[in-house]
Subunit: 196 residues, 2 copies
DNA sequence: CCGTTTATCATGCAGTCGCATGGTATTAAC
DNA sequence: GTTAATACCATGCGACTGCATGATAAACGG
């Protein structure tokens, strides 16, 4: 075996270049040449790590998912159930540069998943964990008496996740401000607590 | 002065071809040649009606918006406020072939609007009307005693719209069934009425 | 030291892209 | 009948696409 090189690190490096290209110019502008230039390597080098463009995009989505998951998981270890739920929800919204970046890239993948079965499968795979986490926090809050017991935790979790996803585009295109989005989330959490 | 031809009808015809191409193969596959073939006309004819591809996409989005608006408006004239709200919400979800078609196309435009300012402006323009309609129905329901008076109609309207938008992708990729989506909407409407 | 494997590169290829050009046909105004 | 404007088409152009190919360099196992 030849030159010592971390295969996984290279693929991650390329995946991040894909993200930056999507953020800057949109999914349509993702080409092997563009990504290679963004990654600071030759086109042949990129080809060396992926059998096809579709495989590259698939791994780029996987890498985005783990990035977001890691950030959510990192914040999972303090506060009350409702506090955790709040932070986890806000992680999905484009509230600062980092989350805005991920939201833009994520929305591009979301749209492509409609016509790309492999991307759809990957997204489907991750959904139960997120929604399940939300539902778990709601149930914990109910057990702690912070949320009305007769609310349906699963239905509320489904709603909260879809709600957050649905807020992404309006915030990205400037229809809602960051403050609007946060207060919309806080209103719903306040409602769960029973005080409007 | 020359051949008698309905300019607007032609542009609408092309816009619908754009929609079909997006539905079948995704936004990436939208090219002048592909659209021309789908519309059953030559590429030169398509070029005759649009100065550029971007202008074609912009009108295609406009046409989609009016299509959806018309369908929502057509159903606006019967039933209670909460009933209207329900139907208007369900119009946004991919519950049958027609709405599925529009949801797929709409999501593609939604994603592109993040990197295309003109599309974003058009989408922004329409948002207040939809959300305002929802808020109006909630307020009417409150006045009729069908919805708890101390709920914030505006915040609930914002949530319901984003919620519906956020359900689109999960339904399209098969994570939720049509029945799941309807019952999620019905749960939220039941909650507005005060009974869980 | 040599052969094999890996990493990287430059280039070529057939196909597609948006768009411009030049042409023809049709029709209405004069 | 002539002119001008519109509708439409075929073609060409340069740029770009994903991917395949062949070459070069590096590094370890034998």
């Amino acid at each position: 075996m030849p030159k010592i090189v971390d295969h996984e690190a290279r693929r991650r490096h390329i995946a991040e270049a894909v993200h930056r290209v999507i953020d800057a110019k949109g999914m349509d502008s993702v080409s092997l040449r563009e990504v290679a230039a963004e990654a600071g390597m030759s086109m042949g080098a990129v080809q060396h790590y992926f059998a096809s463009k579709d495989e590259m995009l698939l791994l780029a989505l996987g890498h985005l998912n783990t990035r977001i998951s890691l950030r959510v998981a990192a914040v999972t270890h303090d506060g009350t159930p409702l506090g955790l739920l709040r932070v986890a929800l806000l992680e999905l919204l484009p509230l600062d540069d980092e989350r805005r970046f991920e939201a833009r890239v994520g929305l591009a993948f979301l749209a492509r998943s409609v016509v790309a079965g492999d991307l759809a499968a990957l997204l489907r795979e991750g959904l139960p964990y997120v929604v399940g986490f939300y539902a778990g926090q709601i149930r914990a809050a109910q057990a702690a008496g912070q949320v009305e017991g007769d609310l349906d935790a699963d239905q509320e979790a489904v709603m909260l996740f879809a709600f957050a996803q649905g807020m992404v585009n309006p915030v990205l295109i400037g229809h809602y401000t960051v403050e609007d989005a946060v207060s919309a989330v806080d209103y719903q959490l306040r409602r769960l607590r029973g005080g409007y």
